[in-house]
């Protein structure tokens, strides 16, 4: 007990507690006000990266860059003979090589990629075929209500209703960020669903099945909203995600 008394005799200022409280306060402030700060830092890093031709923006937090997600064992290798299959409740099933997709009328978009967890990449260049156009080509039957997307990673799936699929800013993309889509970004072909969170934009797109109802996708089976409108969903209180 004497040691404690001695310790108190030496007293001094409670700097430790102040440091902890200050950090918690700064952390909370960062949560509330951090988004514009992160965006500002991202802009600065982007111009610095461009000027120095380095990957600075990709190396430090706050840089506007993609975080690369994959739910399987790494990024799947690109199939030697890539073909996108469109089947199910259609009159004319399609099997499209990359060249076939490129030959169809293209849609170019400059729109952000917004992850549901918060990170965001502004003004990404996307190019591909409007999903609605592919549906017209295949000719969905009367029973068709929704689409089921499958990834050639063998695990990931996604869903859209037919009405959502026909929105003009929903494309089967084969170019992004000014070049062919790289493997880690889901190349050669991925979906881009502009009005929804990133998990709808399935990577490594292998097949589109036209189906009679919505089959919830990979993250949707784990609690994410099926109708993933940016800013208007995933506030379902209590929904588990793991």
């Amino acid at each position: 007990m004497k040691a404690v008394a001695d310790g108190e005799r030496r007293d001094g200022k409670p700097v430790g507690r102040r440091v902890v409280v200050a950090m918690l306060g700064a952390g909370a402030a960062g949560v509330v006000a951090g988004a514009p700060v992160a965006r500002g830092i991202g802009n600065v890093l982007h111009s610095l990266s461009a000027r120095t031709e380095s990957n600075l923006a990709g190396l430090v937090p706050g840089g506007d860059y993609f975080q690369l997600y994959t739910v399987t064992n790494g990024f799947p290798p690109e199939p030697a003979d890539y073909r996108l299959q469109v089947g199910g409740l259609v009159r004319r099933p399609l099997s499209l090589a990359l060249g076939d997709l490129e030959a169809l009328p293209s849609t170019a978009l400059v729109k952000p990629f917004q992850c549901v967890t918060g990170w965001r990449v502004p003004a990404v260049h996307w190019e591909g075929v409007a999903l609605g156009h592919l549906l017209d080509e295949a000719g969905a039957t009367k029973e068709a209500k929704a689409l089921l997307f499958r990834s050639f990673d063998g695990v990931y799936t996604e869903s859209l209703t037919l009405a959502q699929a026909r929105l003009s800013d929903v494309i089967v993309a084969y170019r992004m960020l000014g070049g062919p889509i790289t493997r880690e970004h889901g190349g050669p072909v991925r979906l881009y669903v502009a009005p929804m969170y990133g998990y709808k934009s399935i990577k490594w797109l292998k097949a589109i099945d036209v189906v009679d109802k919505v089959y919830p996708g990979y993250w949707e089976q784990r609690g994410y909203a099926v109708n993933a409108w940016v800013g208007r969903s995933n506030s379902d209180v209590g929904a588990p995600i793991s």
Partner: protein, 195 residues
Amino acid sequence: MTAALFIVLIVTGACLYVPQLVALVGRRALLVRIHVDAGLALPVPLVASFLGPWGKALRADVRRLNRWSAAERRWLRMLLRREPVSRLALGKFNAGQKLMAAFTLGVMGVTLMTGCIMRWFYFWPLSWRTGATFVHDLVAYIFVAAVIGHVLMAITHPRALRSMLTGRVSREWAQRHARSWLEEVEAGGGESQQA
């Protein structure tokens, strides 16, 4: 325990974040689960050993770590100015160790708070999620740098490392680096340490 959880968190965090490691490991859902569980468990051993009846020594250490004497504040200032500091009478912990302890506790609080916002994101507005992600990443970067610095310091100061593992320091070392503490111990106020 706490150190082991920190290591798990840093490793799984890196595998979720660094593109090269993401490519190597993948399996996002599993890693998220381990990362979140380890994060939630992080404060448990510390709180348990602080509050339990066995926590007397820890409570005394926390009390020491919290309070900074004038000499310690001076120590830090002198260190920053690269002046020799060995003449100062310091206690059991020097100001650097006290700063790291407070910083680590702050990191635990901030990453736990922002991590919970990222994990249970549906309760929060989108801009808060962005802010939480930014703060979580930033704090993790700084903390990993601090941990690396800490490990390097321990390796280059083998006697301090040995004292951490065995709980013993030599009288000569204490005389030089922690004079106030030595005087305190010799005055008969020993807790668990042997000189």
